[in-house]
């Protein structure tokens, strides 16, 4: 019994009130506004006009960039979440082993998580510059390459760099989630598996993965949401250029709303993004709530 006595029935709601007010005003209201705007005519100066049905949506979807942007978003989310989960998992397995300097290694791995994405993106933007970038500088001075390499020869390669940087900054989060899961595993399981003669791969498949699965699920779903919403990397490095070919939904939406002043289609895109996130969030909630029932 971990509850304390409550004198009045309404008391718990009083405790929740500040939090509810804060979230209602600054999270729920913007959602409502975005929905309302997406069905209204908006002039270039920002005045909200009459209800126009789905015209904003058809404008947004009819734009030739829309298909590219959605495909980019898919590539971006799948590659960044998939690879960072895999690499983060491996990193966590390694950092969970005992070795000299483990504390230092763990502290270093957390660095990218603590750094603002704009700053990380700016640094990488400098690193991969062809004319004077630091990657060429280091590789040339170490004698690994003979001539400067153009690391951003085409927009496809630039987009791959952006995905790579996305993976780089996402790994620490996955690592620490998995590490949390790994540390909660009772060593007795491994001892039992060793007695049964299980090798490394068997232990991984039958002990480690099933037991870190909950933390892996949480980190994956949260990552999908963070990565989907990730803005500064692409905005700093390519700004979606050339012609929206490296844009994801979020950067495209931003440019549409605040550079091209097409607020109508932009809000329609917001709603589309919102619906996609809702589906992901629904799946996530089902998982979490089921766990809650188990407790």
């Amino acid at each position: 019994m971990n509850n304390i006595l409550v004198r009045h029935k309404w008391e718990p709601y009083l405790w929740l009130l500040p939090s509810i007010v804060l979230m209602t005003v600054f999270v729920v209201f913007p959602i409502a506004i975005v929905f309302q705007l997406s069905f209204s005519e908006i002039s270039r100066s920002g005045l909200v006009g009459s209800f126009i049905g789905f015209r904003n949506f058809s404008d947004a979807i009819g734009d030739p960039s829309f298909g590219t942007v959605m495909m980019n978003t898919l590539y971006w989310v799948v590659s960044v979440v998939g690879l960072s989960t895999l690499l983060g998992f491996i990193t966590a397995m390694v950092l969970n082993k005992k070795f000299v300097g483990r504390k230092i290694a763990r502290s270093i791995v957390v660095f990218p998580w603590a750094t603002s994405l704009v700053i990380q993106a700016s640094v990488w933007n400098y690193i991969i510059k062809y004319e004077y970038g630091n990657l060429n500088n280091v590789l040339l001075n170490l004698g690994i390459i003979k001539d400067a390499v153009n690391w951003r020869a085409s927009y496809q390669i630039e987009f791959m760099w952006e995905c790579g940087i996305g993976i780089f900054v996402t790994i620490p989060f996955v690592t620490f989630c998995v590490l949390a899961g790994l540390q909660s595993i009772d060593a007795a399981y491994y001892e039992a598996a060793t007695v049964d003669g299980a090798g490394f791969w068997k232990k991984l498949r039958h002990v480690t993965i099933p037991l870190v699965k909950p933390s892996l699920t949480v980190s994956t779903v949260l990552n999908i949401i963070y990565v989907f919403n990730s803005f500064p990397i692409i905005y700093t490095i390519t700004k979606g250029a050339p012609a929206n070919k490296t844009d994801t939904l979020v950067t495209y939406l931003y440019m549409l709303a605040f550079y091209d002043q097409k607020k109508g289609p932009a809000t329609a895109l917001s709603v589309i993004g919102f619906v996609i996130l809702c589906i992901v969030a629904g799946v996530y909630m089902m998982i979490t709530m089921r766990k809650e029932d188990e407790l």
Partner: protein, 536 residues
């Protein structure tokens, strides 16, 4: 008993010694094979307005043959050949004539012994690697002398054991020096010679040129060595790279002799290799940030990639950025992140307390609401947020930004705090309640002090999130003086010119405090994520 257990180890040791000696012999063979091929133009002569076979052609040809003969006299140089390239063209009088280009080309290769004999830097490195290898073999031999091959490891005298350990490390070092040798050849020929030829006053260049002359041309080139070297092409052969597996074989057999088995040593070696690679890659952008922050602009945008580290550390960059308002941005960020954290905790602690300790209808609904709000980073809602702020007259104000940041961090705060509260038993609070303390008193006097680590973790986490936030700030703040640091640094990158040194100097100021804070909570974060995120 002893006889039984030592027999397999004797066999294993013998195999290891044989393997080691075979590999060492193979190493000698590899050193005698060509490790690098070089090709350079020793002499070239153009003869225009001629026909193949006429007087001018014969004269030029004789001149070239004479020049070639001078080099051919040195047998050790390599293969000297004459190439002749004929281009036909029509001159102004309408006659067809030829332009004949003669070249004396030297193609040569150098084996390991020749490289080690040269005074070029990579010769020194290879010499070092081979000395280490020989030293290791000698030490291992000493440790094995006197019939110690059959001795089990436990009975081995300590000094013999440490000799074997040292020889393992020496081979490892020698192994690492092989790729460094290859990298150094590129560095010497591409950067130190070719590149510095354009700045003849460079120190130590003449010395280097003389060594290169001796190494490649047997000292015959003299003054013309610069021209010859600038047309140099070269490549490494498989023999150089075959040294790596051979040395690895020696290392493996020595590890077997030293540890009695190989597998776990190799596994831990791979582990350390992985960790080192991980740390190097992670720290690389920070290295770039630091060295660029203290460079001159001309050096930060140096197209010739001259230096890896600043030639002069420009500390005045820090003073320059303070003149551009960076301190103000940092203050704004401090205010913003501090305010957002305060609001998030003031709203979040009561909610987390109720969620952890009280029973009420709609608890699940509220949890769902919290989780849902965690789903929406503000970026998708930017248009809505900016419109809301207009309505509330909070646009272009730090206070509005604080509220938005606090609201979007509410979910994480409640999540982490609730996890902390649940993990603490409520007995103390119940006792306090019986003593006449109300729920508020129980929270403030009993629970909060007990959950201090969890609260500090949450506090720092929200603070860092707000400090690093960029997107909403760019939209909501329109007065430059009110920008937080993440937006403030973008003033250094205008459309056509980026002042990298200032950009990174201010990035450094924005990053260091946050990393230090993160290191404080790193330990708690793992347990916080476990209790909050994973256990539900």
């Amino acid at each position: 008993m002893i006889g039984l257990s030592s027999r397999p180890s004797t066999k294993r040791n013998l195999t290891a010694v044989i393997l080691c000696l075979t590999a060492a012999a193979l190493m000698v063979v590899l050193l005698s094979l060509p490790l690098f091929h070089f090709q350079s133009v020793l002499f070239s002569k153009k003869s225009g307005n001629t026909f193949v076979g006429d007087e001018r052609y014969i004269a030029a040809s004789a001149e070239v043959t004479e020049a070639a003969a001078k080099y051919q006299a040195h047998q050790a140089l390599g293969e000297v050949s004459i190439t002749e390239n004929v281009t036909e063209r029509v001159n102004s009088k309408g006659e067809t004539t030829s332009l004949v280009t003669f070249q004396v080309v030297l193609s040569s290769s150098r084996n390991g012994w020749q490289i080690m004999a040269s005074s070029l830097p990579f010769g020194g490195i290879l010499r070092c690697a081979m000395l280490l290898l020989v030293g290791a073999l000698v030490l291992m031999g000493v440790s094995l002398s006197g019939g110690m091959l059959n001795e089990s490891l436990r009975a081995l005298p300590k000094w013999r054991k440490s000799l074997r350990g040292i020889s393992c490390w020496m081979v490892l070092l020698s192994l690492a020096l092989i790729p460094i040798t290859a990298m150094n050849t590129i560095r010497v020929f591409e950067r130190e010679i070719i590149f510095r030829l354009s700045t003849p006053e460079a120190a130590g260049l003449t010395e280097l040129l003389r060594s290169a002359d001796l190494f490649l041309y047997g000292g015959t080139a003299g003054e013309g060595v610069g021209d010859m070297l600038s047309g140099l092409t070269y490549s490494s052969t498989f023999a150089l790279w075959a040294m790596i597996p051979v040395l690895f074989l020696i290392l493996a057999s020595m590890v077997t002799l030293c540890k009695g088995e190989l597998k776990s040593t190799l596994a831990s070696g791979a582990l350390y290799l992985f960790v080192i690679a991980l740390c190097v890659i992670t720290l690389y952008p920070y290295y770039v940030m630091v060295i660029t922050a203290f460079r001159e602009n001309s050096e930060a945008t140096d197209m010739y990639f001259t230096h890896m580290f600043p030639t002069k550390w420009i500390w005045s960059n820090l003073a320059d950025i303070t003149k551009r308002g960076v301190l103000g941005y940092l203050m704004n960020s401090l205010l913003l992140a501090g305010g957002a954290t305060l609001i998030a905790l003031v709203c979040g602690i009561p909610a987390a307390y109720a969620m952890a300790r009280m029973r009420f209808a709609g608890k699940k609904g509220f949890l769902g609401f919290v989780i849902m709000s965690q789903m929406f980073a503000p970026v998708v809602l930017l248009v809505g947020i900016s419109r809301l702020m207009n309505t509330l007259h909070l646009n272009d104000s730090l206070f509005g930004l604080m509220m938005v940041n606090a609201a979007f961090n509410q979910a994480f705060a409640i999540w982490l705090l609730r996890g902390t509260f649940v993990s603490i038993s409520s007995e103390m609070e119940q006792a306090a309640c019986i003593d006449g303390c109300n729920t508020v008193g129980a929270l403030i006097h009993v629970l909060l002090p007990m959950s201090a680590p969890g609260i500090v973790t949450t506090l720092i986490f929200v603070f860092i999130n707000a400090w690093n936030e960029y997107t909403i700030s760019t939209v909501l703040i329109s007065t430059p003086a009110k920008n937080p640091i993440t937006v403030g640094i973008t003033q250094f990158s205008s459309f056509n010119m980026i002042e990298w040194q200032y950009l990174f100097a201010s990035s450094l100021l924005a990053t260091i405090p946050v990393i230090i804070m993160f290191l404080f909570i790193e330990k708690h974060l793992v347990s916080g994520l476990t209790s909050g995120g994973v256990k539900g």
